[in-house]
Subunit: 432 residues, 2 copies
Amino acid sequence: MYKVGLLGLGTVGTGTAEILLNPAGRNPLIRDLDLHRVGVKTIGKAREIQLPTEILTTDLEGIVTDPDVDIVVELIGGTDRARSLILKAIESGKHIVTANKAVIARHGAEIFSAAQAAGVYVLIEAAVGGGIPIIQPLKQSLGANRIQKITGIINGTTNYILTQMQDVGADFADVLAEAQRLGYAEADPTADVDGFDAADKISILASLAFNGRIRYEDIEREGIRTVSVADINYAQQLGFTIKLLAIAQQDHHTHDQLQLRVGPTLVPKDHPLASVNGVFNAILVEADPLGQVMFYGPGAGKGATASAVVSDLLNITALLQGEKLEDALHPMLACPHEDYCQVAPITELETRFYARFRCGDRPGVIGHLGTCFGDQGVSIESVVQIGYQGDHAEVVVVTHEVTEGQFRQAVEAIHAYEAIDDIQVASILRVL
Amino acid sequence: MYKVGLLGLGTVGTGTAEILLNPAGRNPLIRDLDLHRVGVKTIGKAREIQLPTEILTTDLEGIVTDPDVDIVVELIGGTDRARSLILKAIESGKHIVTANKAVIARHGAEIFSAAQAAGVYVLIEAAVGGGIPIIQPLKQSLGANRIQKITGIINGTTNYILTQMQDVGADFADVLAEAQRLGYAEADPTADVDGFDAADKISILASLAFNGRIRYEDIEREGIRTVSVADINYAQQLGFTIKLLAIAQQDHHTHDQLQLRVGPTLVPKDHPLASVNGVFNAILVEADPLGQVMFYGPGAGKGATASAVVSDLLNITALLQGEKLEDALHPMLACPHEDYCQVAPITELETRFYARFRCGDRPGVIGHLGTCFGDQGVSIESVVQIGYQGDHAEVVVVTHEVTEGQFRQAVEAIHAYEAIDDIQVASILRVL
């Protein structure tokens, strides 16, 4: 019997407790897990789940240092307090299971070094993709491969908002308000809509896939506040759907630099990620020699995330039962790498671009745009003069693959070009 | 260093050897695997891969009893010889990795019992879904869940044929001939097109998901030879696409019987499996509390299947390095269950049905059909009188969920009904 100390009894904590207290029909190892203590803010609160009062405590430090506790499950969220509780638990020799992407993305180096030194596991299946098994496949099932690229829809809130904007034709602000009302978006939506959550998650996936640490600041990040219904409509006419993608890929040329980016991206409609809608998540892995493999499922929610938390508990239980020595961590479940990945600067990121320009409707505008792009080595895949608004024309351009640096120079050149002095860049998006 | 004995150097064997001989950029544990001996039919044959001649041998029995070999990788296919080599290897204390779904589906009980007694692993990630990680997720990542249903497109050949029939409008026989020419179908296509391969695979998945052994004969199996372009077109008009699905699910009512079936099935176009085309595979798992999770990727091919073979080798290597005692197999990687699952008889399987009738075009035919179905308790979801061929009408019916037994009785009643004596059942398919 292994004793679990649970920190936090919110949505995921409740789901986790429900599974542990209700083992019939699940993996038999669950019966070897004992929910020993549960740390909460207020003991007396009315709750969805009935727990014996004596296992509830407000003393979270007491749980992480309790000599009886074998495994600490951290589900309080946030960074500072979570970091300090996790480090204290590791110091006390506890294994850790956490769903906290932010604390791992920002303090992972410190946490995994401490865990390695203490000979304990820190398992994080629930931190990315909710219930979708992706962390363990990256560590184990895909180990034979050289990973080339990970492309993920890993934030359910933004995917719900973009899906609604496309289906209903409503503006970002309206859909966000509706999502907040339905509980799909937080009162302060910044972490989701500005891409911080997706950046946390892609840094975790990239670290596992490319076998090195990632500095969170190295990720190029853009949210979805700037995505307009106009762009969604133009994208649809061009055969694309707009998704907030998180991408980590090896540089085509050098193979020693990683490209890391989060941002709204046009996805071709026949791409497997294009039909991932609503609050669902999906992660597409491209690897040699495997090819493309995709993992799809609920990216959040009580049951889904708790499923991932308990799968990590089961893995630790199985290893502890196998009488493994604590100083020989299972090499495919530990995270022993200590080197940082080399991340490419933003100007060297390569992608296709979508740009929408607004300008006076006079002859030769498309030719001028084409010249400016051409002068900067930006090759155009398609140019569509689509709409008119009063005496203004809207021109949409999709480029071939270029570096971000080249593209930015081309846009500057267009602004500086005298022949089309009233041109405005209405929006710039990336294209998968 | 662990010594690998490889049986078979065909497509997947070659891919496996290529990964082992070329470890850079992959999981570092690959360097601990030594390709010690390779069993082939003919030593002197020209091959895609250069191996030192001294490791090649035609003596496969010699490999499985070689005291230096730690892990035997069985890639010769077929059932009888593979079974006897695997059992002999287990008896000699070797761990087993195999991609052979047929030998596991038909002789799994004997093989896993022997492995359990000998304290060795038999890992089978490559046996289902090629490179898609599905065996390990079922054993580990989804362990917190009660699995309710598995629905798979797990035969690439038939999915390619059905996709082509739909896209090109060609008949089964023509597309099959083309698939054979391209190497997507075997000269003898029976195992694929008659559903045997999918039945092997769903029996393996069901055994893991529902934690009991499956008798291969208990699976209701139907192939795709009877699927016509006419049905594909009607299905499309009704908003469906036809796929060969393999389904294992717990009985809604009793919860103690499994329903197991392979057959061509109408899938609603907005279902995640509907857009899985060509030789790709996908497995949808429905579980409590997780919800729906789908695994998608290449279901066959050299690199994909070899990726799965080597992931199993890595798992065994990691466990051996962890100084695990041989008599304490990792409880989440072994297959210790010995009981058989209770499988429902075919007449009790529940599903929606699609049926196409051909009959004289006279007033009241649809009413008569409706009466016959209604008398047998079969409730109709939609009736569409779609086509005319000469003086014959074609009527397509989609039912609500009924048991196979009820539906069969209704069809018999229709045949016996005098008022529509010229009615023919042109085709019957199931609907997801």
